[in-house]
């Protein structure tokens, strides 16, 4: 099978620190892959290795079916990237910064710069020196640079950094449309779960350099699903009542977890039913944060 990104045993060691530890990534074409990890988990090091900016200590990297490195070789004409904070030449204007990117990317179409300026809502800043831009607009400039040459694969490190809430939504919609309409593969890292959760079709969780879990669409859906949590003093009566009403549930310690959509939407009916069964609920809540819980559990973060 042909992957947009493929790593085999990717490892990077800096001195005594193992930054990336035998990571096997497979990102399919057209996917939006969320690469999730706490700060210092190894996300940026992995991204730098994908782009041939650092040499792996072990393992190998393939991008768009082409081996990366060791001398910076790769299919870079088809790859757009934004690594860590966006960089720019402060004394040059936004347009000049992008014009440099256009030429270095061998884009013959002279209108490409103007188009991407328009697309990233940078038109009113186009002739302003990049050094005077706000953090949000610097981020837009970085994204414009990554997308200017209409790449098949975009590798973005924390793409929502510095953007205001409206900007975050706008970039999310832009990336989604690139994937859905043009089949662009998006590989984006983040330490903010909600950012990747709303966009990604698959999520990889990296922790202390290791890829500890990959969540595919089904698992993501399951984790994203809302659940009704029920606790009651008379737990047995509550279970019998729910069973006889045809609801499926699982137990988590002394909490009844119901996945049923009807139960979630009509929790008042459930409450009434339990009262009638002599098991009035002491806790009744719809939970939506399962993915976050899952992530925190895996990475040992505070719940």
């Amino acid at each position: 099978m042909s992957f947009a990104i493929e790593t085999n045993g990717l490892t990077k060691v800096f001195g005594n620190v193992v930054a990336v530890d035998h990571v096997d990534l497979r990102v399919e074409r057209g996917e939006i892959y969320g690469f999730l990890g706490l700060n210092g988990a190894g996300k940026t090091t992995t991204i730098r290795a994908l782009l041939g900016m650092i040499r792996p200590s072990a393992g190998n990297v393939k991008v768009l079916d082409q081996a990366v490195g060791p001398h910076g070789h790769g299919p870079w004409g088809k790859v757009g990237h934004l690594v860590e904070s966006p960089s720019y030449y402060p004394e040059l204007t936004v347009r000049e910064n992008l014009e440099i990117a256009r030429r270095l990317h061998e884009v013959a179409d002279h209108t490409a710069t103007a188009r991407i300026i328009e697309k990233l809502a940078l038109a009113s800043y186009a002739d302003r020196r990049a050094g005077t831009l706000s953090t949000g607009n610097v981020q837009r400039l970085g994204l414009a640079r990554a997308l200017l040459h209409e790449p098949e694969l975009v590798i973005l490190d924390e793409p929502a950094n510095g953007l205001d809430p409206a900007g975050v939504v706008e970039i999310r919609e832009l990336l989604k449309s690139l994937a859905e309409e043009r089949g662009v593969t998006v590989f984006m890292s983040s330490h903010i779960l909600t950012e990747v959760d709303r966009l990604a079709t698959r999520i990889g969780i990296i922790h202390k350099g290791k890829l500890i879990e990959e969540l595919d669409t089904d698992k993501l859906e399951r984790l994203r699903a809302r659940r009704l949590e029920v606790r009651a003093r008379n737990l047995e009566a509550a279970q019998i009542s729910l069973q006889s009403a045809g609801y499926k549930f699982v137990m988590d310690d002394s909490t009844i977890m119901i996945d049923d959509a009807h139960a979630i939407e009509h929790s008042d009916d459930i409450a009434q039913m339990l009262v009638n069964a002599g098991a009035p609920p002491t806790h009744l809540a719809v939970r939506q944060q399962e993915l976050e819980d899952h992530f925190l559990q895996l990475t040992g973060g505070a719940k």
């Binding site: 650092i54 870079w76 860590e84 030449y89 004394e91 270095l104 990317h105």
Partner: protein, 262 residues
């Protein structure tokens, strides 16, 4: 070729938009202006004596106020001043990519890293040659204004080649500066290297072994301690070339192979 021209265009734009050309041109212009001042002093010894310290310093540098002496001064200024100013230019062109964190955007491009490095070296060379021509031009204007005696066309042509030769030898020694900027990922390591090399070149030249030390060669070529033919041999130029090639190789290697974490 197209991507190389793109890299050359980008490097030229970056250089033109920066303040480096202006500041280095202003800095280098001091050489002919100072030379002109010395000439004024030397032309009028009575007045020179009245001026005290400045006059005695001028006496040390030159003894006859004529074009030959003045051109010699320009060549010496190119050797010493050039080592500093050309290092500033080289440090900026390479080091700024790391301090502005733009180096990472030059790593994964269809335009190869080698082409980008080559474009940088060409822009540095072009600016150094232009600077040299500029100070020689200013030198001619200042010399004419001061009305220095002893002009001949042959002397002017030969002196121009001497100044250009001194600049070329100094320029060849900029590749290690480029390496230190790339390796150190900053402006400071290359500037530190430049200061160290100037310091060492003075010491080694003073011991009489300057012809074997590449960084002493430009100053010896300029005639700072006497006629060039007595100071330098073919081995001196070969050593400059070898030092330059070593710097070039190290710079290209660093861009191709070293981890780019900045």
């Amino acid at each position: 070729m197209k991507t190389f021209l793109a890299a050359l265009w980008a490097e030229t734009l970056k250089m033109m938009r920066s303040k480096v050309p202006l500041f280095t041109a202003l800095g280098f212009s001091l050489a002919p202006l100072m030379g002109g001042l010395f000439m004024i002093i030397m032309k009028d010894p009575e007045r020179a004596r009245e001026m005290g310290l400045l006059s005695s310093k001028a006496q040390l540098v030159m003894d006859v106020a004529e074009w030959r002496t003045y051109f010699g001064l320009l060549a010496q200024a190119t050797a010493i001043g050039g080592m500093i100013l050309f290092s500033v230019i080289t440090s900026w062109v390479f080091g700024r990519e790391f301090t502005d964190r733009t180096a990472k955007d030059l790593m994964a491009l269809p335009t190869s890293r080698e082409k980008i490095v080559s474009a940088k070296l060409i822009v540095i060379s072009a600016w150094v040659i232009l600077l040299t021509i500029l100070i020689f031009g200013i030198g001619l204007a200042v010399g004419a204004l001061v009305d220095i005696p002893g002009w001949t066309n042959d002397l002017a042509a030969q002196s121009f080649l001497d100044v250009l030769g001194t600049a070329a030898l100094t320029l060849l020694l900029m590749s290690p500066v480029a390496y230190f900027a790339t390796m150190g990922r900053d402006y400071l390591p290359p500037l530190g290297w430049a200061i160290l090399s100037i310091f060492l070149s003075q010491i080694v030249a003073a011991t009489g072994w300057g012809d074997w030390f590449p960084w002493s060669v430009p100053a010896l070529f300029s005639g700072v301690v006497g006629p060039r033919s007595e100071q330098l041999g073919m081995h001196s130029y070969i050593l400059v070339l070898l030092a330059s090639l070593a710097g070039l190789f190290a710079t290209f290697w660093q861009w191709r192979n070293a981890d780019q974490t900045k």
